[in-house]
Symmetry: none
Subunit: 227 residues, 4 copies
């Protein structure tokens, strides 16, 4: 029922245990340094890809930002595309992983969805993953394998979970009918929207995210007494 392995559509590359530290402590083992360098590249590449998109990102800039030589990138990633895919895939892993845990038995459906929404706001919208998610939407059409990977590992599973959750809610009388069960995408639609909206219009028209999410849940499940 869990531990479903992540489908890897393409080469994912090696992972590293250590977060990139800019500080260059003198007496570090080779492996450590190497891992740090790799992480620095990933972080720099993420930033650049987010700012400019895939095609417009220059590996030169990535290297500069990471503080490594351009050649070093090629020691860790086959090419630009592999670097891109790696980033998109690994950044989403921590979000995917906990999804396999079954929902707590006691909690009302609405609260579970609410928790899910807040988790999304906190851990995706509120972090760099927000940009990664946008990259997937943005570059997906040109990287079908990436889109598929994401669909298989994230979307499909999330939709399945959501449906199961709603089914349970229906059984427990917390949900009136099958409308939402048949179209669980409607639950997440506003989340995709705030990612897009944020990227496009944040400057002139910032969204009240909290209010929006609460309103969404109120509409889906009926007005709540307390948030």
């Amino acid at each position: 029922m869990s531990k479903t392995p992540v489908h890897t559509a393409g080469p994912v590359g090696k992972t590293s245990t250590e977060r990139a530290g800019a500080a260059k402590r003198p007496r570090r083992k080779r492996a450590e340094q190497s891992a740090a360098r790799r992480d620095a590249i990933v972080a720099a590449a993420l930033a650049e890809f987010c700012e400019r998109g895939y095609a417009a990102t220059r590996l030169d800039d990535v290297a500069k930002r990471a503080g490594v030589a351009k050649g070093t990138i090629y020691l860790n990633f086959r090419d630009k595309e592999a670097l891109f895919q790696e980033i998109v895939v690994t950044m989403m892993v921590p979000v995917i992983a906990p999804m396999d845990a079954p929902p707590p038995q006691e909690m009302p459906t609405r609260l579970i969805v609410e928790a899910f929404a807040h988790k999304f706001i906190r851990e995706v919208y509120g972090t760099e993953r927000r940009h990664v998610l946008r990259l997937i939407m943005t570059e997906g059409p040109r990287f079908p394998s990436l889109a598929e990977h994401y669909y298989r590992n994230v979307v499909e599973r999330a939709v399945g979970r959501m449906r199961a959750l709603l089914e349970r809610g229906l059984a427990r009388g917390e949900i009136a009918d099958r409308t939402l069960i048949d179209h669980p995408q409607l639950v997440v639609a506003p989340m995709m929207m705030i990612i897009i909206w944020g990227a496009l219009f944040e400057r002139y028209a910032p969204l009240d995210i909290e209010g929006l999410v609460k309103a969404h849940l109120d509409i889906l499940f009926g007005k709540a007494r307390a948030s």
Copy 2:
């Protein structure tokens, strides 16, 4: 009360009356041919931009696809960016224009929103404009002036209209509370989602658009007796 002029952020270029026909009918006037060529360029560019995104599109390919020489593009558009913006702006004009018409007095709020949704499905999702809309979401962050143009002319106005409509619905007792009025973006969120979803996952997981829209409306306004 209407006829708000379209804010033009940049140069929009000349329009042409005739749709591009690949066939080269012999007895055509200069101006006609020229317009046809221009249209062919626009069509070809749209296709290429959709397939590859802005940065990865080669004007060489656009020219080839349009059946014109590369230089001809520059007779009609200042540069690649102008071509891109022109496409994005002009393709959306026919969608924007009718938006200023006030909603029919008699029609119930739900029906108006429903009509709006179906119009979107028919005229945007069901046409090439679907790709244009995706391009706006996709490339917008790198073309702030474009995003702003779109926001001022489409989003802002649409949101305003929607809010006014809902306000009227509230006054007429068709809507229970202000939840949706405060967050009219929730009305359109699924529409943005289907655009993205369609581009990314259509192959593995096609959406039941009609059903989704109906479900969305049912959730917003309560189950309808008939669609």
Copy 3:
């Protein structure tokens, strides 16, 4: 002893009798209009070539400046190079022509040279021919036929005349020795210099042309009592 024909190194094109008049008088004969157009092209081309040099001049700009269509240039000149050569050659004809007249018997050598210098100042340095002369110096190396044409028709003849004149001056006791006769180029060296200097440094260091020429003659022939 005179009327030596002008050696034409390359194609020179047709000449026209009428100066370009911008005004478009309605009832003019075809031939007249055509000639006016041709002259307008020549004038415009001269201005553009002077401002930008041969390679950087666009025929588009020439046409615009002349108020004709681009194609019209090709009705009058085989190509860009022919237009260029035509200009350089014809502009200098009026300067070359009178050179064949023998010097007045009575006039002292110094006065003849002085008259020549002032004529140069007046008719070359003081007119657009100044730029033509610069173009010859500037673009000559890349148009050997042009350089040769100019050498045969202007330089060679001018040097010969000058030498003959000086020879006469020696015979008449107006000149002390053969120094200048052996290097008549020294007579014209300052004239070449002021053309170049004017083009490069006029802004920061304008030359006192009159004073310079007088000083030059004073040095060549001894201080004059009156200018």
Copy 4:
């Protein structure tokens, strides 16, 4: 009294110690190779610019001639214009530098001017700098900053030196009057002329440079007993 710094109008770039050798000796250090390549580019660019002028020179040809890839040019120079300016500026530095040394006290004025003239003949006219000087005259009008740089660093200073020298000659009774002092440009006019003449007419009418210079000095200072 000397060491006036060279006004640098634009970026001058790095210098390299080694002359470009086409031969690829195997055991050379990176920096050395790089410098050699840079020098090869400069040499090739100089040759091309001289043959064709600025606008008509193709960087492709420069690269081919230098035996490097096109991209390598851009590792050393921002763009075509920077390459051009760099060449013109650096080639003239060795000529400018010694100009600040005060003239030897003992030497007669004529001999100093003579030495200057011969130095010019030897180090400019007799070397590639001859072409550089022509490029300055040729392209100056289209590169005002270049013309100004050259004026400030070379012409202005040279004219000042010359005037001071002549002033001293006047004080010492070696010069009869102020004619030349007021127009020191007359001293260098023949040098500009021989550069131009050489570029245009050398084939049909080579100049006797030595004789010309001697004649010039004879005219300026009176016939010398011995050269």
